[in-house]
Amino acid sequence: MSTDTSTSNVSGTESMTVREAIREAMREELARDEDVFLMGEDVGLFGGVFDVSDGLLADFSEDRIRDTPISEAGFLGAGVGAAATGSRPIVEIMFSDFLGVSMEQTMNQMAKMRYMFGGKTEMPITIRTTEGGGMGAASQHSGTVHTWFAHFPGLIAVAPGTPAAAKGLLKSAIRSNDPVFFFENKMIYEQTGEVPTDPDFTLPIGEASVERTGEDVTVIATQRLVGESLDAAEELSDQVSVEVIDLRSLYPLDTETIVASLEKTGRVVVADESPLSYGVHAEVVTRLVENGFYSLDAPPERVGVPDTHIPFSPSLEQEVLPDAADVTAAIERLA
């Protein structure tokens, strides 16, 4: 397994969960810049519905860890207005399925302001939200919608698959002068990994990370499926040498890293929990075709949700959610 691709000076690491990594990223940025604040439903007193912001209210004021009404259009819009006037809000949308409620402020204000105004405003806002099925939350609390945001011009979309990526990317997102959507798969909050402790540690947005090197097949994965793919690669290590890439950034997309891997392996699986049609898979494959067509030794494989919503009943939910077995099957079809 490769180490992370931090560009910063790393003084040491600490084992922590994705949840802790996100919390530490926010804590460090809140301490570093007084223009940064967090707002969202239940982020303060409650500590976040997934405990991600637990403890921040005690360390910072109510002004900066701000509980909102259940009013996504209102407070996300307020975040846009605050970002346009010199603040650096982190807005938490409890479940990404709720992003639809605030879509107007996202698509017509946040995404377009800089461009429409001829570059004369910054939009330093970070939207944190949770995605993914696996906890019986049914269709309105389990979706993976990041494709919409990666697709929409003017937005930046990142979806980390490891604790280090979560911390480094969130810190970069908060420091960015562009609107960044930060998608957290809720099933990997407890996943642990080594995370640099240097408060200056950040990861550049727009760079993928080779998490495991291999020679035969490349798996380009996101979020929970990074870990699932690493498990699959380990399982198959006697038969096939699998390279696993954490895509990390959906837009901009690191074409260079994925094409370089394709050129080495000639075979690619794209694993992402969004629905298969018109999604992240399609964009990754297109980049590979456009830039590495002659390196392809086999048609690319896609692993994702087969164009359904996430059903409630555990047996149905497990049926549609992709996992290591689906990645393994895809690798086996290629190898």
Binding site: D63, T68, G77, A78, G81, A82, T85, S87, G118, G119
Partner: protein
């Protein structure tokens, strides 16, 4: 300090001049749109000048405003330059947005003008956010959202006011009730007769003022501003006004009679204020004519500036998307879809 002090003779002249400038600008914009010189569509503020000028004059220069699709008047009232505005309507590089925004998106964030807005009801959440920003930074600033009667029916307007009142933010919500939401009369859009009664739902002050009287709007906003900076929270003001022109230029207006328009034209906010200043001895009739002629001359100059301004280079379409450099944009610019610049053969 208010932007323009209405208590002084100079302030009164300047308020009149700004209203005249808006009238002249929008008359010119309407004419030039009709001539086919201005692309897209334009929404004119004619008839509503007292609202924008009354409100912005009573704000302090550092205060924020959000605007609407009918935003030319708000821009001029906030002190934006008419030549750069007209250049923007023409889609020229010298425009406020380098030609990327046009009539509906003129903005000057440094001047506190957070943008005209093509989405009805989108401004109030932005104003709530600007007020939040000011409050968090401890700045003595307020944010005023101009929005129309139609926007009062929008969910996000409710959310914005609820948030601002719950958090006690220094915001002012100013409804320009011009009697029509696009092509539908206000009474067909709201069961509520007096839109200012909306305020009761948020436990904030709400009241209605004569939007054809610049002194009434001024006084209302000055009082609302004082409440806001004292930390007492937002105020909801309804300005009773009237849109003399169609929703957009070229609107055939089946929803109203000429008689109604004429009745409101007799209450013209510019003539009314000019007459009062003449009666009070602040201006002579000749001086009023001179002010109007000077305003019209400034707008003619602005139009000439716009005509002679530069078309943006096509490559500028790929600029201003992000603060950072995004490789996709440099790859795709000009039509190539490949990171290597478009070579079609390999190996």
């Amino acid at each position: 300090m208010v932007t323009i002090d209405i208590e002084t003779d100079d302030g009164q002249r300047e308020i009149l001049r700004r209203m005249m400038l808006i009238r002249a600008f929008d008359n010119e914009a309407g004419d030039r749109f009709a001539d086919g010189e201005i692309p897209g569509f334009v929404h004119l503020y004619i008839g509503e000048e007292a609202v924008g000028v009354g409100a912005c004059s009573a704000l302090e220069p550092d205060d924020y405003i959000t605007s609407t699709h009918r935003g030319h008047g708000h821009c001029i009232a906030k002190g934006l330059e008419t030549d750069k505005m007209m250049a923007e309507l023409y889609g020229k590089r010298e425009g406020y947005c380098n030609g990327k925004g046009g009539s509906m998106h003129i903005a000057d964030v440094d001047a506190g003008m957070l943008g005209a807005n093509g989405i009805v009801g989108a401004g109030p959440p932005l104003a709530t956010g600007a007020a939040l920003s000011a409050a968090q930074k401890g700045e003595d600033r307020v944010a005023l959202a101009f929005f129309g009667d139609g926007a009062v029916a929008q969910g996000q307007v409710h959310e914005a006011i609820n948030l601002a009142s719950t958090w006690g933010l220094p915001a002012i919500f100013l409804v320009e009730n011009n009697k029509f939401g696009e092509g539908t009369p206000v009474e067909k859009q709201h069961n509520l007769e007096n839109l200012s009664e909306t305020a009761e739902a948020y436990d904030i002050p709400g009241f209605t003022v004569n939007g054809m009287d610049v002194t009434a709007v001024y006084e209302a906003v000055e009082a609302a501003r004082e409440r806001a900076v004292n930390g007492d929270g937002p105020t909801f003001i309804e300005a009773d006004t009237y849109r003399y022109r169609g929703h957009f230029e070229g609107d055939h207006q089946p929803y109203r009679d000429d008689d109604d328009i004429e009745a409101w034209q007799r209450r013209c906010p510019i003539d009314a204020f000019a007459n009062r200043l003449v009666d009070a001895g602040v201006l002579t009739e000749d001086e009023v004519d001179e002010l109007r002629a000077a305003a019209e001359a400034e707008i003619e100059d602005a139009a000439a500036f716009a005509e002679n301004a530069t078309d943006p280079d096509p490559s500028e379409a790929y600029e201003d998307m992000y603060d950072v450099s995004v490789p996709e944009l440099s790859t795709y610019a000009g039509g190539s879809l490949r990171a290597d610049g478009g070579s079609t053969t390999d190996q």
